[in-house]
Structure formats: structure tokens, C-alpha cells
């Protein structure tokens, strides 16, 4: 390893050594083999699958938008959120949608940890009745710092409240207490990926998505005459 005594002289070596060391480490660890017990690995996968999506739920931005406007169904609104078709992107196995940037609602009152749907309701377009069952639904979302549970209240088929019901992150949840409606609007512009840590607001999106998914499933079950899931069921239930 380069001596630290003569910074200028050592700089070049330092650079090379760090880059080379990281490459060597990657190869060493990779080639050292990766002996894993299949059972243990599968258990991890199982646990993770129970709790978190492996990739962003594709309808997430739309859901969020839906929740703001209190009206549309979770799934069918994606067309309007797609600024333009991108034929070149048909190849990737998973394609991220670019949520619409122009649909941002007027800034709504912040401060409260509960995102009330009312301010944006007036702007809600005509739409079919939302397929959500009334009740309070909960879902978990994950970010790099832990998990967040969101609770969504559905009344008369509309979201009337959404907020954080359980914050299991390593840090205080103060940072998302201020989640105003505009936080729910996310735009990724026309880039392939976005760098920068997944934030707690993302976890909140996932959590709301999961809660609404349960509400929608319960609604469908009701419509089909099947025994319906109870609202606010354990969030892990799939």
C-alpha cells in the first residue's frame, strides 16, 4: 500500500491503488465462490417477498395521483401519465414509467402528517367509481432505512385520509411527518435511472400502493360475492 508520507508523490499511486484494490476485491470475492445454502437463500427471498416489492410497483405514480384526486382506479389511469410512447424501450424486461410532470396539483397545505384528499378533490376528473372497499387499509413500504406502514381510509369509495401508521425506520420519522400531497407527485423526467438514495417518501408510496391494492382486492372479492377480506388486515397478507 502506498505510504502516506508524501502526498503529492503518492497521489498517483493512491488513485491507482484504490481503483485497482476495489477491482481486485470484487474479483476475489466473486471468484472465492459463493457457497450458499439454497434453503437459507430461499428463506431470505421469501421473507423479502413477503414484505417488499423487488421493483417499484409500476402503477405507483398513478396510484399516488389517484389518491390525490380521490377518484380513479389504481390501474387504468396509466395512459395519461405516459408522456410519450417510447418504442425503443420495448426491449428491456422492466421499463420504468415516467410519471407525468405536468399533472402536479396546486401546492396543498403541508405540515400535517395526514394527507387529506379534500384539497385536490375538486380537480378530480370524471371517472368511474373507485373500486376500493370502504375501511382503513394498511400497507408496508420499504426504503433503505427501514419500513413504513401507511394507513389509507376509504369512505364511500374515496380516499379521505392517508398517513403514516407505523414507522420502523432506523431514524426518526419526523422527516416524513411533513409529507404534503405534492410529495406524492414524483417525476423522473426522461432519464433511464435516477441516482440518489431511495427516500422515505418512496417507502410511503409503496405503502400506500400496498394499502390500496388490498382495498381493491377486497372490493373485487365483494363484487364477486366471495368472502371479503377485512379492512386493516395484517399488511403482510397477500
Amino acid at each position: 500500500m502506498p505510504p502516506a508520507s508524501s502526498p503529492n508523490k503518492a497521489n498517483k499511486k493512491v488513485a491507482n491503488s484504490l481503483v485497482a484494490l476495489s477491482s481486485a476485491a470484487v474479483l476475489a470475492v466473486y471468484s472465492a465462490g459463493y457457497v450458499r445454502t439454497k434453503a437459507a437463500a430461499e428463506k431470505f427471498v421469501q421473507q423479502a417477498d413477503d414484505r417488499r416489492p423487488r421493483q417499484a410497483p409500476p402503477a405507483r405514480p398513478e396510484i399516488v395521483e389517484a389518491s390525490l384526486k380521490t377518484a380513479p382506479a389504481p390501474v387504468p389511469v396509466e395512459a395519461k401519465a405516459e408522456p410519450k410512447p417510447e418504442e425503443a424501450r420495448e426491449k428491456p424486461k422492466a421499463v420504468e414509467k415516467a410519471p407525468s410532470a405536468d399533472a402536479a396539483p396546486a401546492p396543498a397545505p403541508a405540515a400535517a402528517p395526514v394527507v387529506a384528499a379534500a384539497p385536490a378533490a375538486a380537480a378530480a376528473p370524471m371517472s368511474p367509481p373507485p373500486p376500493w372497499k370502504d375501511g382503513i387499509w394498511k400497507g408496508w413500504g420499504t426504503c433503505r432505512h427501514g419500513d413504513i406502514q401507511a394507513a389509507v381510509k376509504i369512505e364511500n369509495g374515496k380516499i379521505t385520509q392517508a398517513g403514516v401508521s407505523d414507522c420502523e425506520t432506523r431514524y426518526s420519522c419526523d422527516i416524513i411527518d411533513k409529507l404534503p400531497p405534492e410529495v406524492l407527485q414524483r417525476q423522473t423526467a426522461d432519464v433511464d435511472r435516477v441516482g440518489g438514495a431511495t427516500q422515505s417518501s418512496d417507502a410511503f408510496y409503496y405503502a400506500v400502493y400496498e394499502a390500496l391494492r388490498q382495498a381493491a382486492e377486497a372490493y373485487k372479492a365483494d363484487a364477486a360475492g366471495a368472502p371479503a377480506a377485512a379492512p386493516a388486515a395484517p399488511p403482510q397478507a397477500n
Binding site: 481503483v19 470475492v29 427501514g146 426518526s172 441516482g195
Partner: protein, 275 residues
């Protein structure tokens, strides 16, 4: 790692490789997490004063982290674990269990208190301390996953909580475009970079408040709002981004130039610095 991992591959039929790539994240976390007392890392932390034989994975990760610590003059230091505990970063979010080493936050330890023996592959903690491999271990997992995918395809992306590895090119045949989050306006981008066969990692102050501690002072680092580094490996990009975040714009840029790495820094006032 408490991280949402997304892998995109350019063509279908690679499920097995993608699955293997994902497995690395579990394997790396299992060995290198600070939040499980039974992890290899924490078992090491419990044996101060003894030369502990380490797995290749733990050894290489610690060795690399120590080297970055040395080269950054301690701006990056993997021995901040106990201080992070003291600041509340001590809960395993999956089991909801609080992990605590019992070390006082004032304990003056640094990377110099960790010794490694390369031929023997042993690690010795000269004093009781908690190693936090955070970003380095996640970077390693990304790099392992990239190795796995490179065996079957050149074009892919791995996104682990906003730390990225971009393999090959995007479906249009161009380098991948990567937006950098605006550190002050949620949902907006402040910059973009183009990457191919390299990692892009960002350390930002926006995600959980002032989460990066300057190991040299024990206080939060506040001179940078967002530091993005591009490097051949995610391990290096992640560690360098953390170091730059602590070093501040001027020293950070100098550090990156020494390493011949590309980087973009935004201060809290949104002044932009670039290598």
C-alpha cells in the same frame, strides 16, 4: 440492507442470472450487517484484541474500507459504528430489534485501531469498536450482482436504493442517462450524467437528515448537500461519495481528481462543483 433493489436486463430469459444476482445482496447482508449480532461482522466486533480469521468477503470489504479511510485522511471511516448507534441508527428494521454494542459514543476509535493481516486474512480490532460497512458492503453486493449479470448480458442496470451500476448501454444503444436527485426539491432532478459499465453513487443529506457523520469530529457533515461519484466499481463509488460528502466541495473535488474519478457536488446553497 434495508434497500430496495431493482435489476433491469436488456432481454428476457435471464431469470436465473438475475436471481443469482439478487442472491448476492442477501449473502452480503448476512455477513456484513451491523444489525444482526450473529453476522460475521458483529462476531468480529465482539472479539476485540484477537486476530480473527475472516471470510474472503468480509476481509476484502474491511481491507478496502480501511484503505479508503487511509486515503481520505479519515473522512471515510468504517469504525463510526458506535457513533451511528448513539445517533439512533441501531435498529434492525426487519426484526425490529435494537442492536447495541455497549460502546460509548465518545469512545475515540478510528480506522487505525483495525489491523489486517493480508496473507493470513485475519482482522484484529485493537480496541472494542463497531465496524459499519454500510455503503461499502452495499457497493460490493452491487458489484457482485454486476459480475453475475455480465456473464450473460452486457446491458443491464442495478439500482440498490439509488446507488447504481450501469452495464453496457441502454436499449437505444447509448450510454445510460442517470438523473441526479435534487437535494432540496423532492421528485426533481438537479443534474444528469451518462454512464456505461460503471457505477454511479450519490450521498445526499436529504434522505434522513444529517446522517453522515464526520468521523474526524463526530459531528454531522454539513458542507455538501449531494455528492455523486462515478467509478468502475460501486464499492469505490459509494465509499468515495461518502468521503467527498464529508470532505466538502474543495477537498472533495481534489480527492476525486487524485483518484481520477468523475464526480459532481452540490452544496446546501446549490453551488455546483465538478471534477
Amino acid at each position: 440492507m434495508g434497500t430496495l433493489v431493482t435489476i433491469h436486463v436488456a432481454r428476457p430469459g435471464l431469470d436465473e442470472a438475475v436471481e443469482r444476482a439478487f442472491q448476492w445482496f442477501y449473502d452480503v447482508e448476512r455477513r456484513c450487517t451491523r444489525f444482526d449480532p450473529k453476522s460475521e461482522l458483529m462476531r468480529l466486533s465482539a472479539q476485540a484484541g484477537t486476530a480473527v480469521k475472516a471470510s474472503d468477503m468480509l476481509f476484502e470489504t474491511v481491507r478496502f474500507a480501511l484503505e479508503v479511510a487511509k486515503e481520505s485522511g479519515g473522512a471515510f471511516d468504517p469504525t463510526v459504528g458506535h457513533r451511528m448507534e448513539a445517533r439512533g441508527y441501531n435498529r434492525e428494521h426487519r426484526t425490529r430489534e435494537t442492536v447495541h454494542s455497549g460502546l460509548e459514543p465518545e469512545a475515540q476509535v478510528s480506522y487505525r485501531d483495525v489491523a489486517i493481516d493480508v496473507p493470513e486474512k485475519t482482522i484484529t480490532l485493537r480496541r472494542p469498536l463497531v465496524i459499519d460497512l454500510g455503503g461499502v458492503a452495499k457497493g460490493l453486493a452491487i458489484d457482485m450482482a454486476a459480475q453475475e449479470l455480465k456473464r450473460v448480458t452486457g446491458d443491464f442496470t442495478i439500482d440498490a436504493g439509488g446507488d447504481l451500476y450501469l452495464g453496457g448501454r441502454n436499449p437505444k444503444g447509448e450510454p445510460w442517462s442517470v438523473g441526479i436527485r435534487h437535494p432540496r426539491i423532492d421528485g426533481q432532478l438537479i443534474d444528469r450524467v451518462y454512464a456505461s459499465d460503471e457505477a454511479v453513487c450519490t450521498s445526499g443529506d436529504y434522505e434522513r437528515g444529517q446522517h453522515v457523520i464526520d468521523p474526524r469530529t463526530g459531528k454531522p457533515a454539513t458542507a455538501v448537500a449531494s455528492a455523486t461519484v462515478m467509478a468502475p466499481s460501486a464499492m469505490l463509488a459509494d465509499a468515495a461519495a461518502t468521503a467527498v460528502f464529508v470532505l466538502g466541495p474543495a477537498e472533495g473535488i481534489a480527492f476525486l481528481r487524485r483518484l481520477e474519478l468523475k464526480g459532481i457536488i452540490y452544496t446546501p446553497e446549490l453551488e455546483r462543483y465538478e471534477t
